[in-house]
């Protein structure tokens, strides 16, 4: 209910104010949240005045920069977002002369940062913003590794409570009602930034392609990049020339890891079974080996016994034979002696 109310209110105000016509319901098959909001950046309109930077700084109460926002010599060196700066404008020299581009979180439809956070500190709001909550962040900085646009930043100087800092599409201000459009959008003097429903922004971009033939490349950066983003860019020069990577592909970041994560339950289920099987086999092998050993021992013993018995029998037989011979000898001897005695007796008579 609340969301509906919010969207209704905002949709009506922002979209009409910016586009000058009532917002229409988005198409049915849509990746990401329907009716989510975003920003369209038109590189052909940006004049590199840095007012958006100043506006962002003001609405978010960020510390004053080292060099003031009206110092345009800052544009001489390329910059990235940092923990005190949610958005930066860079100047690029191209075939069509200098072109400026504002950089900040792209508010991906399926954000890498949110999918990579192991405490779910990020949320993709149905309104489009990707926001980070301080409450649970551990400060592991995996989200910074994951973000393909190098957006999240970290308060490295803070010893105990460093925060992840990045553009939040002014979600806190808009939900609180203090702002109707993001601070940067409101500060832009040339309408290079437009806030509205993403579907409407896409339509508006195509409208401009149609209206100004030859002015734009026929591509809306962010419509499909990394599965689509809520911040969209149109430009008259190739996007890589204004610092937007063209090699990111259209696969949403969570899909890169979903396969590996899906393998987890398989390993958890299959591995123990496999290992127990191997264990059982090795046990059985051991047992068989042991039994074999025992069997061999038994056989050896039996054989030894048999041999022993045979030996004994042989010895016995020999002994018997010996005994017999001895008796015979004795008898013979006795007989001989008797005969001798007989003879002596006969002689003596």
């Amino acid at each position: 209910m609340q969301r509906r109310h919010f969207l209704g209110l905002l949709g009506a105000t922002a979209a009409t104010a910016v586009l000058g016509k009532p917002a229409q319901a988005g198409p049915k098959h849509f990746t990401g949240y329907p009716d989510s909001f975003g920003v369209l950046f038109d590189a052909t309109r940006c004049i590199g005045c840095r007012r958006c930077e100043a506006g962002c700084n003001r609405v978010n109460g960020l510390p004053a920069p080292a060099r003031p926002f009206d110092d345009l010599s800052v544009l001489d060196t390329p910059r990235r977002t940092d923990a005190r700066t949610f958005t930066v404008v860079n100047r690029y020299s191209t075939a069509r002369g200098p072109v400026y581009r504002k950089n900040q979180c792209q508010h991906c439809l399926e954000p890498a940062c949110a999918s990579s956070c192991f405490v779910a500190a990020y949320a993709k709001t149905p309104q489009g913003a990707v926001i980070w909550e301080e409450g649970v962040c551990v400060g592991c900085r995996y989200c910074m590794i994951a973000c393909p646009f190098d957006i999240p930043t970290f308060e490295y100087w803070d010893p105990l409570a460093p925060r992840i800092m990045k553009c939040h599409l002014c979600y806190p201000h808009i939900t609180a009602g203090t702002l109707r459009v993001p601070g940067c959008v409101g500060a832009c003097p040339t309408e290079a930034l437009v806030y509205g429903r993403r579907v409407d922004l896409l339509r508006e971009a195509r409208h401009r392609f149609h209206l100004f033939p030859g002015r734009y490349l026929d591509h809306i950066y962010g419509e499909h990049e990394m599965g689509g983003t809520n911040w969209l860019y149109i430009s008259g020069v190739p996007f890589r020339e204004i610092g937007l990577r063209e090699d990111l592909g259209v696969t949403p970041a969570p899909e890169f890891t979903s396969g590996a994560l899906a393998a987890v339950p398989i390993i958890a289920a299959a591995w123990p079974a496999l290992l127990l099987g191997i264990y059982a086999i090795s046990q059985a092998k051991d047992k068989a080996a042991r039994q074999e050993k025992r069997q061999a021992l038994r056989e050896a013993l039996a054989k030894a016994q048999e041999e022993c018995q045979a030996e004994l029998a042989k010895v016995k037989a020999k002994a018997e034979a010996d005994k017999k011979a001895a008796i015979e000898r004795e008898v013979k001897k006795a007989l001989e002696e008797a005969a001798k005695a007989q003879a002596a007796k006969e002689e003596g008579e």
Binding site: A112, S115, V119, A121, R141, F154, A260, L275, Y279
Partner: protein
């Protein structure tokens, strides 16, 4: 020292040898480490590291986490070989490997306290606000559970030292269950460490980025584990010889030969898997670039070469060659983890925006390794790690025939 294996070293003897070069060097490292600890928790990460918004992970992740976990893989490989695959002749290697693994993981967690922004929230992913879509969540959960498993696997040594026969026997009975649980958890988190980088195909050089990263990390962790057991065995053999009993010493060479054979096979498999990965992504043309040279060095010098050395060493029963192969493999794993998480990561950035560690980051890593070494020495010189406790010999015959699921080795299998 005396030839008998006393469970504890005489205190007096230790006092006398307090000022050895070893103690002085380790003492200095620990001192510097403590100072840097204070600096880290007063000045923040910016005070001691070269980390930046472009380079959120430095050597504390590349070395302490990724290498630490891979090189502690000896725990699960050894206990699996001994208790699951029934290679009981490696029994003597199990305890040192478990101890090293336990310390390794404990130190990884210790090191993370330096690296993350709010270390006291490290339990959050598990107990407070899980983010199951994150690969890091899986890593955290598995490392946490595996640390408990390793602790339980190690308790018999401590309980024998404390002469708690009842508890010790209870723990020993759980060996098989713990081993299997440990292998499952290790499979998951070793591979997940590789999977961490799957989310950033646009930042990691195509030669190292592959959807097979988890498989590569897992397979190479087995080679790392086996090689670390051989490597540590060599070191311990040299420095803790007096703590070893005949059973350990007798098994020592056998372990090196057996694990060497295992490592050779695993490395060959790993080598071909890497080639398959290269072919599937059709990345051959990158081989002629600078990164290609680095890749070739890693694959030929630190995978193919040690595989060959292992094969030769095992065939000729040459322990020296096997030890060299182990050292090369370990270095190769370190190089691989560095390549994935550091050298080839953010390769699209201009050189000025690339990461190079500050001396303080290196010193903290060194300090953590030193702490591990000291604890290892403390435990190995007191508890029955390299020798069996005279009251708890497993090599002497038991009265009753151990029943089917008794995971302990049988006296007959020691091949007297």
């Amino acid at each position: 020292m005396s030839g008998e294996h006393a469970p504890s070293t005489p205190v007096a003897e230790e006092r006398a040898s307090l000022l050895t070069p070893f103690n002085i060097v380790t003492g200095l490292i620990v001192l510097v480490g403590l100072i840097l600890t204070v600096l880290r928790f007063t000045k923040g990460l910016a005070g001691v590291t070269n980390l930046s918004d472009n380079n959120p992970w430095g050597i504390w992740i590349s070395f302490d986490l990724l290498c630490g976990v891979a090189l502690a893989a000896g725990g699960y490989t050894t206990s699996a070989a001994c208790y699951v695959f029934g290679m009981k002749r490696y029994h003597a290697a199990v305890r040192p490997a478990i101890l090293t693994a336990f310390l390794g993981y404990a130190l990884v967690v210790f090191a993370l306290h330096y690296d993350v922004g709010r270390p006291w929230r490290l339990p959050y992913p598990i107990f407070y606000s899980p983010g199951p879509t994150s690969v890091l969540f899986e890593v955290g959960l598995c490392v946490f559970l595996y640390l408990i498993v390793l602790f339980l696997e190690w308790t018999p040594s401590a309980l024998e030292w404390l002469r708690q026969k009842r508890w010790r026997n209870l723990m020993v009975r759980m060996t098989l269950a713990l081993t299997i649980f440990g292998v499952v958890l290790s499979t998951m988190h070793q591979s997940s460490l590789g999977a961490l980088f799957l989310i950033a195909p646009s930042k990691l050089h195509p030669l190292w980025y592959s959807s097979y990263l988890p498989v590569f990390f897992f397979i190479s962790s087995i080679a790392a584990g086996l090689s670390m057991v051989i490597f540590e065995g060599t070191l311990s053999h040299r420095y803790l010889h007096d703590k070893m009993d005949a059973h350990y010493l007798e098994g020592h060479d056998q372990v090196a030969l057996g694990f060497g054979r295992g490592a050779a096979i695993v490395l060959v498999v790993y080598f071909f898997l890497k080639l398959v990965g290269l072919a599937l992504d059709n990345n051959w043309h990158y081989l002629l670039t600078g990164y290609g040279a680095m890749y070739a060095v890693e694959l030929l010098g630190f995978v193919a070469l040690p595989a060959l050395l292992y094969a030769v060493g095992v065939r000729e029963k040459n322990l020296k060659v096997i030890r060299w192969a182990a050292v090369l493999t370990v270095l190769g794993i370190v190089l691989n983890r560095f390549n994935v998480s550091w050298f080839a990561f953010n390769w699209h950035l201009p050189a000025a925006e690339r990461y190079f560690p500050s001396w303080m980051e290196v010193a903290v890593s060194l300090y953590i390794v030193t702490v591990g070494l000291l604890i290892f020495r403390f435990i190995a010189t007191r508890m029955p790690i390299f020798h069996e406790h005279p009251d708890f010999k497993e090599t002497e015959p038991e009265e009753e025939e151990p029943h089917e699921h008794e995971p302990r080795p049988h006296p007959q299998s020691f091949g007297h």
